[in-house]
Structures are given as structure tokens and as C-alpha cells.
Symmetry: C2
């Protein structure tokens, strides 16, 4: 953990340049709009250390799998998030010498991300023997028109006269640092300068995505002095006279279009048109529209925390990046673990989406958004069946990591064995129906997925004569610090839950719509015998536990491990995964991320506080939280158990994971999907929100050190704002029909007048 | 399994060329002499499919590790067996057109390996419009002078006159097919032609091995027409007039020297000298000396089987290749799993050496040979301690795969977890002392290794409160179709055995040489407390078993698996590792290779026939024998249990593994180390040999279909020949002092008159 960032409710500020931490700042200052985004890279050339990255949603490259030892069943490729056309690219020269902060004397450097407006501003004063020149460079990726980005250069001589050469460009010569075989992934197709506008077109190898970028310039007072257009690069060159007291403003407007949204043959014309229109609209109006859209996003999702600026900054940082990454407008897209902030991990879709992001989108955006995430999996059902078939199992196994539905990960202990991901996908359907009341979804899409997942579970188990129970052998649970274990409790329990939910859904709808259910079962070739076998597995699936301790066992044999406490670890050994050999981690009792506790959170309704307490007391001290997905779950359970100090400690860790670089990897990009977990931490944890069959439950608690907090919530067409202080809880209806809630186990009715519940401490 | 090879007691014959099986024949026709060797490649250019390979013992390249996902603790490199200077290289032209069997019309092709003489002969008749020309090309790698190889080309026009261009050369432009990053591993240094001799010198990148090869030519009647010497290639070109009835003989004599044996600056001169001397000696005399040495090798190691030609050919094939690979003259060398027959797997040393090859070298060669294999590990003790330290464990963990003592493998489930290899190294010391009576070895070297291995075991365990026993978690046993299991019985049992043997050795020698033992313990900083802890682990190390079935359990939870029989598998699914995904293999009950049974073989003296029978009956039907190291152990136990049909079936599989391509991988090279297992299969299995504390035991059995067999055996300075037929057993003293043996539980005394025991059936 490194505390680098000063707290501020809305801003992320780098005050003075930190070249050795540049990758960190590039990550946290990333911008995106669901369609495209980029890291906080510099526009002008920078010869120091940097991870350059511009990314386009859904544009990927199937990089040939690289392994040491091939295992049968591995996929042929790993879908890489692609570094795409660098449209920031704008080399500058002052008096003939390149501006390069790695080589330059300069002062007053700041890089500031304003999360309220989604605008990144960088300023610095270059100190040359000839005098000082101040640069302020501001940019945004429009949330209003998602194919548009804009950059404004504000340059001012503080003393003397200078000649600025300014060369806005589009640079297609980009590479991924994580390319397996050091290949480039792009074939350049075209680059041109026409009518003082630039255009480049390129296509990805293998996947044949076509991407066109155009730029238009507003630069009054600048003199065109040249242009370059080769296959990989289009630049315009201008000369600007800088005199003290006469600042100049240079705008670069960019559009980026792909053949995911347009016909390839139209891209060029549309890109030019769009850039030209945007140029005519002008930077200021583009900027205002962008800010307005952000304002609307904050309206429906902001969380305010008073009395804890670090927490306030943290939760907004999480919401900001999550909403930048995914806007739910395109059911072909999903939520990549690094969003637009880095190239690591690749793929776009992990179980993180269902397990950690569904609730925040259900709560803070229209139901269609979460529905699109569900539809995404429905579209991939056939490939999930193929995937299971490859492993010799019937039914559907959704991939661990995917772009297009095909598995693309290649670690046997994960790819083949971390099968609990299937359960999260089933559970997301359950949650969606609970939140929205959209029961039709079950018949139109949900049951297709539930049936094939249930079939998978019922087929993946085997009967153990020794245990006289069905067992799930050779799995990896959420805790990836144990691999290839038998009977991971979380996996078994969630498998059982899925079988139960599928059975109950079939039974429930059978009475109302027997023909429809018949059709669905027939379509999937489900027989009565098969349903009976599923029920047998549901009833007799083994759940490891220790009766003496009164806990569920993470897996068979967990208690054979040497039982140590994470608190007794030498801090120099943390994080374990950077200091211990893998086998040492595996045979230790230390838990990377919530596993049994994940289950007790997800299925919390089914377990008593006593059970949760015993398991929490056992597992929490053994958990090292070296996954970004861990602290939030522990914090939620701690809050439920009334352990607010612990809950707050974990919440800080979740909310400031990247800002304070807890896992020493923010350089690679941000942990986007765990940001959904941070939202859950706040709203499910402190807010005590639970959505149950019979409605919305709240038990809001407040850490001692906080003054108060508020959050907004959608539920079945209503939107409410919940505000908790030390003295009272208020609920305000923002939109929709009045709502019945259960607050602290009491019925509460919230209409347009709102509710105010005093708190007597 | 593919029966391609006709049976013959001494020869491996390819009759008619099989281009689609060329890699197979190249593998089985490999030649070697402990210093160098090569696959059965063609001398002249061949544009068809081929795996070209010439290898030099101990010359390796540390290829940068390639993995998909790095795990902490992985080594930086994998030591690759290097493809070295191709000295077969001899392009030929007939009437101006290259001889290339991929493009040529030809007849009467044979490729024959004579295992009795170690000579490979290939002949064919080229059919050209101008007439037919017969080639017979014979070669050997001298067992007499290990730096020398020789090739004789015998060419004869069968009709008409022809012009042969013959260009013997040394080609340093070689690559490994399995290079991780498609790099070349060599830097060429020099190539020259001088006095009608050729020379090339090259050095390996990183490891800086220097290899020089020289060639000299005897080619009377050939006219020199040119020469080539560039950095990677030195060739001489000759022209030969071929007239019907006037065959010509062309000899190419090669020497290959490395800086492992010579000073770099001397290599060139010595190589020229040696080649020149060999040339003067002449092909015929070099050949005769080579054959004589092979004759001596067969004298001390041949096994004769009458009545089963396939078995006879198989066992000789095993002995031939094993003795080609390792001659024990250099304690820096070990027995690579592919010897000089392929580049796959890399490294030179696996646990195979101790577990499968020590007995054959102890039995059929001077004790120094096996001693050198032990010394090899003693030299690497310090690196084994470093290796264990990396994994956070005290003591020594010998590497899974190594060239120089450093671990170079990179699969976590193997590298870090297949730790039973340590036990085989301890057990080899025990065997060496039993066989040779060289007790001094324990004090000079053995205890150093035993102590550090015992320390490893005592440190790698942990106390399980649940089991009230020490446990070994997270291991992979010999059966690699189960990974990361807990309490693999074989591993635990062998760990316990090691601790016991170390303790007993210390105790035993303490009375005779207390000071020496003190010094050794002090040197290793072993305290009384530590010895007590070792004893506690020895006494309380968990051994999984099932009391109902009366068997040892391969590992915790093995009985939770679905219990199926290998015989019920669809043959189309075999081998499983080429047809099933890895997770499916792991969760199945199918066993790749002897695991519990390996332990019951190694520690057989300690277990009753009843115990062996129960375990054999349980595990044998579940074993798929997809490791080359498996059938021999099953066969030995089957023989002991009187199941001769099973024993014979498994013996055929062991002995003809590569010849009949059971595992569909002979193309890559031969399974050299399992050939030691085949010898054990014959001598321990049918011969019933056991070496115990109190002497040599024999219980020879004879399969019904066999007429008889014989083998030779060294034991404490004596050498005897055992011959079994249906009617009698004879023991003949070949060398050394008379010997007491226990044959069929009776004392037998064998002096110069030998022993003859009639068998009454």
C-alpha cells in the first residue's frame, strides 16, 4: 500500500511530476466512455517510462496461446485487449527543440482528473534558456457522442517570444506490451491528409476488425507548415508564434469508428463527416454536453460520504471508472477487468461481471443495462455447451475468460476447474428477476441458461461410494490460492442452489404456462428422468463441514493444513504471491479471497447470524485479500455482524485498492470489475440492502467516524435516495411509484413525501 | 501400438523406405557412445520430413522459460538438449542432379541397425534414366574412441557410367525444433578446409560450450573439385567416375571435441590430429575396435530369451540404447530421458535415473559406474539446498529436471510438487551400498545427501490437528494423472523410509566411528533436537489406507472418485492424455503409472504377499500405463504374485514400448530411462532377483511360452550368469569369488563349478 494521492471529494491530483510513478498515474487517470478510452498518457512525445494505451470496446486480437507445457483441452488463443490507434499523438517543438518532459526542465506540473466532469487536465511550465512557456492540455472522451474525443492545448509564453511547432496526428503504429510472440496485431490500410483533416484506417489481423480515425483541427493563428501521411501515421504540422501575454488555443477533435458499428466501406466518409461536424460544434459545446451527461450519470449513481474524505474519494473513483467502462448500450459488450486502463488479463468477461457488477447496474441504471449483460451470456450459450463438451461434460460451462463466448484462458487449474463461475451466471438471473420483477425473462432467456448450467452440474459430479454422496472433484474455488481441490464448499453449495432454483422455476411456471415449459424442456431435450437425476444431485451433493468448529470447510482436508493467522505473517512476505513459491501458497491455509464467506454473503438469507459469525471468525483471520474481489465481501459480512471497525477497514481497502496501490499492480491498469464490489460493499454492507423474494430490505449502519452517507437505488421502477446520518435515516422517492420497504425489520412505505426515521442511539 | 518392426534377435530392420514413418525409424536407429550420438538421419540431403539431431553429452542451452502464466518460484530457463554440429552432412549429386530420396525414384531400400555391432547400414538403388546406382552407407559412433565417428559410402553403378559428386562436410547451421523463442543456440566461430581436412568451431550462447569437429577423408579414385568454408559450414567436394562393375569406397572420418574435455585453445589442433590419426588407422580397423568394445559390453549385460523373438529383440533394444546413452565414465553426466535420440524434454537428469537405472548399472557394470551417478547428485547437493530454500523449506530438494543441479522445469504441479524424486535419490544410496558393500561411501558422501533430504522431509510436513499426524500436503506422486494431492501414499511412505534409513545409518555408524558421525552432523548443523524431530515425523507420518479394502490409498480422497476400470475405456479414447482434457484425466480414477505399486515394489521386503495381492488387484485394473515407467513395475509384481500371463503382457509392453510405439511418440525419440526399468522387469520380475541386507535372492520364474532365458549379474565383486529353462536353473560364476545366494528360499553356494538345480514341475 502506498498513499500517494491527496484526498479530494471529486478529483485525482498529481501535483508535481513523478516519472517513476508515471504508469501508476496513467492508470488512475484513464478516461473512457464505453466505446473507447485511453490511459493518462501524454499527448506530446515522452521518452520516459510509460505504458501507452488506447483501447476500443470489443476490438480484440486472438493472440496465439503461449504455454510451457500444453495440456489437452487448452484453447488455441488468448483474446487480447488491443492497443489501438493512438489519437492523442501530438508531438510539439519549442524553438526547434522537441518538448519531452523526460529531458526538459519544467515546473508547476499538475495532472488532474476531475471525476465529476470526466475531464483530464495537465499543465506545466517549460523552462528554456529563451524563457518560460506554460502548457495546459485538457481532454475528454465524450460520453455524449461516444465516437468523439477532444483535446485542447492552451499555450502561453510567460516571457519572450517563441516558435511552437504543433503536430496533431493519428498514429496507428501501436503494439501490445503483452504480445505473446512480439507480433503487431494490426495491418495498416490507409492514411491520408485531406482538407486539413487527417484519417487513418487499419484492420486487425485474424479478427478483421476495421478501425478508422479522423481528426479535425481548430487552430486560429496557427500556420500550416506541412503534413505527413504514410500507412501508419497521419499528421498535420503547424507553426505558432508565442508572445508573452497572448495565449493560444489549439483544438484537436477526433472521431473513431469501427466496423462493429458501421459498414467498412462507410467508415472513412462517416469519420470525416463526424469530425467535421464536431469541429463545427466546437470544443466548448462538445465539452458542455459531455459534462451534462456525466452529471446525469452521477445523479443516478453517486454515493456521498461525509466525515471520511478518503472513503468519499475512493467510492467515487470506483463509480467513475466503472461507469466509464460499461454503459450497457451494446449487448455484445461486457465489463473487462481492466476496462480502458490497461492491456493485462485480456478478454472482456470474467465471472466478476455476474458476481460483482450486476447489482450496481441493477441499482443505478435502467433494467435494460443489466439485462444486456444477461443477454450477453444467453448469446454465448451454444459456445458454453461446446466448451463443456470439450471437457467431456454435458450441459454448459461458461468460459473463465472470453471475448466472443469461446474460452481463451490457459491455466488448467483455472480454465478447466474454476467452474463456480457457472453459478454466478445462474445467480445473476435470479437477482435480475428479483430486482426488476421481469419474470418473462425467465421464459424467454433465463431458463435456457439455467437448464444447461444445471445439466452441467448434474453431470460434472460423481457419486462417491466412500461418502455416499455426490462430490465435485478437481475444482478451484474463488480462493485461487488452492487449486484442484475436492468439494469446494462454495462451488458445491452454489451448484446445489442452481439445481434448486432451476427446479423451482420449472415447477412454478409449469402451473401457469405448462406448454411453454414443455417447449423449453423439449428444446433442451430434458427428460423426466434427467430432472429426477438433477433432484437427486441437489439432495445429495456433499457439503464439507466441521461439526466441532461449526463451520463449513472450504474444501475437503482444509483442516489438515497448518493453521496460521495472516496477522502473524512477516509483512516483508506480503503480498504472498510476489514472495512465496506457488506450492508454498497452495499448501498454506492462507486464503486469497472470500470463498466460504462469498457463499455466506450470496446465500446469506439461508444462514443464521451465528453460522455467519462462526465462519467469519474462522476464515477472516486466514484471508490475505490478495484479490481485488475479496475485501468487499468481508466488509459486507462484518457490517452485518456489527463489526463496523473491521467493515470500515475492509471498505477503505476495497474503495482505495487502486488509488493506494494495495496489490502493487496499479501500474498495469485498474481493477474495474471489483469496483462493482466496492459499490456492493457500501450499499449492501453499510446500507444493509438485501433484495429478497418479498421485497427490499435495509438495515443501514454508520461507522462511528462518519458523519453520514447517502446513495440512490432503483427497484422495480422506483428510484429512491437513502440518506443515513448519526441521528436519522431519510428515504426520498426520486422517481416512479411509491415503494414498500422493510427497514430494520419494520415495514416502511415511501411515497413522494419521503420517509424520515429518527435514530436513537 | 503399431507393429512395424519385424522380429530379429539382433537387428532393427526397415525394409523399404517409409517416408511417413521416417521420424520413427530415425529414433529407433539412433547411435551413441556416451559422448555423442545422432538419430538415424540420412547423410545426403533429404527434403522430406525428418527430425535432424546430433547431440553431445553435457552440452546444453538454457532456453528462456516460456509459460503462459508465471508462478513465483519458476526457474528462468529450461536446459535444452542441443542439436549440435551435423557431421553426417554429405550432399551428393548424380550426373549433376542432387540425390534426394524424397524426389528420387529408387528401389531396394533398407535401413538396418545391428545392435550386436552398433553399426547402422542403409542401402538403396537409385533409378535414373541413365541407369541404376547402388549406395550402401554404413556408419558408427565409436565406442572405442568416443570422440570419433566414421561413415563409409559404398557406391556402385549397376549399369552405365555416371558422375558422382560427393561433398562430405561439417554443418554447424543447426536448430532445435523445440526452441522456445525460435532462436539459434550457437555462435559459429570458425570453419576451414586445410590439407584436405575440414574443421568447424562453434560456441553455445549463454553456456559458452565450445565444440570443434574435424573430418578427414579416404577417397581413393575421387578427384577433389572444390571446397567450401564459411562460418557455419566446411565441405570438400569430390568427383567420382562410376562405371558398372567398379564399385568405389569413400570414407569420412570425424572427430568431435568439446571444451568439457579439452582446453578451448587446443581443440582445433587436437581435432585435426585425432581425425588424421583415425584416418591413418583406417575405417576397417576403427570399425573392428568398435565392434570389439560392443562385444565386451554385451558380454557383461546381454540377456538371452529363447522362444520369444519379440521379447528377445525388445530387451536387447533396451540394453543397446541404454548402454549407448550412458557409459558412466564421466561423473558430470547423467542419463537423459531421450539420450541421443531426440531433443524433447531437455535436461539430462530425472528421478528415472535413480528409480529405474541404478540397478541395471549396478548389475551389469563396474561399481564405479553407479557410484558416478551417485556422486553426480552429491555434487549438486548445495544447489538442491538452494532449490528447497526457494520453496521455503529447509534441507535439500533435488530438481525434477536438471543439467547442472539447478531446477529447470516449469510446471508448478511437477516442479514444486513431485517431490518424491528426493526419496529415489536416498534409496539409490541404499541400493548401492547393498549391491557393492561399499559402506565407506555412506561416510564420505552418502550421509551428506541423506541428512539434507531427511531435513527436507521433516520440514516439508506439517502437523495436522485433524488427523493427529504429520501430513504431506500439495504433492504430485509418481502418477502424474493426479496433481496437487494430499498424502500421496508412495511419497509419504518413502519419506518415512528415508528418515528411518538416515536415522539407522547414523545410529549404526555412531558406535564404530562416533567422531566421524559427529563431524558430519556438525557440518550439517544437525542438533539432537532436530534428530528427535525427524524421529517424531518418522513415527507419525500419515499413511492413507482403506481398512475395508485392505489397501493403501494412493492419496487422501482417492475413493471419492468414480471407480472405473481401464478395460472399460473406449479404445478410441486412448491414450487419455491425447484425447481427454486435463481436468477430466485428473478427476478420473485412472492412473498413469505405478504409484502405490511402485512403493510396494521398492519396499517389497516389508510387505506380505497378501498385501501386495490386494493392492495389485485394486490398482492394476485402474492403471492405463501412459508412462513408459509403468508396465515394468506392474510386471515385476505380477511375476512375484505368480501371474505370469500378466507379467509377460506387461513385459512385452515395456520391452517393445518404442519399437511398437505404444505411446504414439517414438517420433520424438526413445524412452531411454525406462529401458533400465525393462532390465529390472526381466531380472527382478522373471529372475526374481532381490538384493537384501543379508544377500542376493533369486526366485526365477519362466513364462509358459518361453523356452528359457539367461542374464548376467554382478554382486559384490562377483559376476554370475543365471540361466533358466523349463527343466533347470544353472548358475555359472563368470568372475570373482564364489558366492552365497538364496534361491527359492534355499541357500546355494556357487563357485567355479557352478550350480545346476533341476526343476520338477
Amino acid at each position: 500500500m502506498k498513499q500517494r494521492i491527496q484526498t479530494d471529494p471529486w478529483k485525482i491530483i498529481e501535483d508535481g511530476f513523478h516519472p517513476e510513478e508515471n504508469r501508476f498515474y496513467e492508470s488512475v487517470m484513464s478516461l473512457g466512455n464505453g466505446h473507447m478510452g485511453m490511459r493518462g498518457n501524454f499527448e506530446e512525445d515522452y521518452s520516459g517510462d510509460s505504458l501507452s494505451g488506447t483501447y476500443l470496446a470489443g476490438v480484440y486480437y486472438p493472440d496465439k496461446t503461449r504455454v510451457g507445457w500444453w495440456k489437452n483441452g487448452y484453447p488455441e488463443y488468448f483474446a487480447k485487449v488491443l492497443n489501438a490507434v493512438n489519437f492523442l499523438y501530438t508531438p510539439m517543438k519549442l524553438n526547434g527543440v522537441a518538448v519531452d518532459l523526460a529531458k526538459e526542465e519544467f515546473s508547476n506540473f499538475t495532472r488532474v482528473l476531475n471525476m465529476q466532469t470526466g475531464i483530464l487536465t495537465r499543465s506545466f511550465v517549460i523552462i528554456r534558456p529563451e524563457g518560460q512557456i506554460k502548457f495546459t492540455i485538457e481532454r475528454f472522451v465524450s460520453t455524449n457522442n461516444r465516437e468523439i474525443a477532444a483535446i485542447r492545448f492552451h499555450v502561453e509564453s510567460l516571457e519572450g517570444s517563441h516558435r511552437l511547432e504543433w503536430a496533431p496526428g493519428l498514429n496507428q503504429n501501436v503494439q501490445n506490451e503483452d504480445s505473446n510472440y512480439e507480433e503487431t496485431f494490426w495491418e495498416p490500410m490507409e492514411a491520408e491528409i485531406e482538407n486539413s483533416m487527417g484519417f487513418v484506417l487499419a484492420t486487425t489481423k485474424k479478427t478483421a476488425f476495421v478501425v478508422g480515425a479522423a481528426m479535425a483541427i481548430n487552430a486560429s493563428g496557427a500556420t500550416p507548415i506541412g503534413e505527413t501521411a504514410n500507412l501508419q501515421l497521419a499528421t498535420l504540422q503547424y507553426e505558432i508564434q508565442l508572445d508573452a501575454g497572448h495565449p493560444v488555443v489549439l483544438d484537436k477533435i477526433i472521431t473513431v469508428l469501427t466496423n462493429r458499428d458501421h459498414k467498412t466501406e462507410d467508415i472513412k466518409e462517416l469519420a470525416y463527416q463526424s469530425a467535421d461536424t464536431a469541429k463545427k460544434t466546437g470544443y466548448d459545446r462538445l465539452r458542455a454536453a459531455h459534462i451534462q451527461t456525466w452529471s446525469a450519470i452521477w445523479q443516478e449513481s453517486d454515493i456521498e460520504i461525509t466525515g471520511d474524505d478518503a472513503a468519499q474519494q475512493g467510492i467515487r473513483f470506483n463509480l467513475f471508472h466503472l461507469k466509464q467502462t460499461y454503459n450497457g448500450l451494446d449487448p455484445r459488450l461486457n465489463i473487462g477487468p481492466k476496462g480502458f486502463t490497461g492491456e493485462k488479463y485480456g478478454g472482456s468477461t470474467y465471472w466478476d461481471t455476474e458476481a460483482f457488477c450486476i447489482p450496481v447496474f441493477l441499482s443505478t441504471a435502467k433494467p435494460e443495462i443489466a439485462r444486456n449483460l444477461l443477454i450477453y451470456r444467453h448469446r454465448h450459450l451454444e459456445k458454453a455447451v461446446e466448451n463443456a463438451t470439450k471437457l467431456g461434460v454435458k450441459g454448459a460451462l461458461y468460459p473463465m475468460v472470453t471475448m466472443n463466448g469461446e474460452e481463451c484462458h490457459n491455466e488448467w487449474e483455472i480454465t478447466f476447474e474454476e467452474i463456480h463461475r457457472n453459478a454466478a451466471i445462474a445467480y445473476a438471473i435470479y437477482q435480475y428477476v428479483l430486482y426488476t420483477g421481469d419474470r418473462d425473462y425467465l421464459l424467454s432467456h433465463g431458463l435456457d441458461v439455467l437448464i444447461e448450467i444445471s445439466r452441467f452440474w448434474a453431470n460434472r459430479v460423481n457419486w462417491s461410494e466412500a461418502k455416499q454422496a455426490y462430490v465435485l472433484l478437481g475444482v478451484t474455488g474463488p480462493n485461487e490460492y488452492d487449486n484442484n481441490v475436492n468439494n469446494n464448499w462454495y462451488t458445491n453449495r452454489m451448484a446445489k442452489w442452481t439445481l434448486q432454483y432451476t427446479r423451482e422455476t420449472i415447477e412454478k411456471y409449469y402451473y401457469a404456462q405448462p406448454q411453454k415449459i414443455h417447449d423449453i424442456l423439449d428444446h433442451h431435450l430434458v427428460t423426466k428422468e434427467e430432472l429426477e437425476q438433477w433432484q437427486s444431485v441437489e439432495e445429495k451433493l456433499f457439503e464439507p463441514q466441521d461439526k466441532t468448529l461449526g463451520i463449513f470447510l472450504q474444501q475437503d482436508g482444509y483442516l489438515d493444513k497448518e493453521q496460521r493467522m495472516a496477522a502473524d505473517l512477516d509483512p516483508a512476505e506480503r503480498p504472498l504471491n510476489q514472495n512465496w513459491s506457488w506450492d508454498r501458497i497452495l499448501r498454506s491455509c492462507f486464503i486469497k479471497q472470500a470463498d466460504v464467506l462469498q457463499g455466506l454473503f450470496v446465500l446469506g438469507e439461508l444462514y443464521s447470524m451465528e453460522t455467519k459469525k462462526r465462519n467469519f471468525d474462522f476464515y477472516e483471520p486466514r484471508t490475505v485479500h490478495e484479490s481485488s474481489l475479496s475485501p468487499c465481501v468481508h466488509s459486507i459480512l462484518a457490517a452485518e455482524l456489527g463489526r463496523l471497525d473491521k467493515a470500515l477497514e475492509m471498505f477503505h481497502r476495497a474503495a482505495r485498492l487502486d488509488l493506494d496501490d494495495y496489490n502493487n499492480d496499479t501500474d498495469d491498469g485498474l481493477h474495474i470489475t471489483s469496483m462493482g464490489g466496492t459499490w456492493m460493499n457500501m450499499v449492501y454492507g453499510f446500507g444493509g440492502l438485501r433484495i429478497k423474494e418479498n421485497g427490499l430490505y435495509l438495515t443501514p449502519v454508520l461507522p462511528k467516524t462518519w458523519v453520514g452517507y447517502s446513495f440512490v437505488l432503483r427497484y422495480r421502477g422506483s428510484e429512491v435516495k437513502i440518506k443515513r446520518t448519526q441521528n436519522e435515516l431519510t428515504i426520498q422517492l426520486l422517481e416512479g411509484k411509491p415503494l414498500h420497504l422493510r427497514v430494520w425489520e419494520k415495514d416502511v412505505y415511501c411515497d413522494i413525501d419521503g420517509v424520515r426515521i429518527p435514530i436513537v442511539s
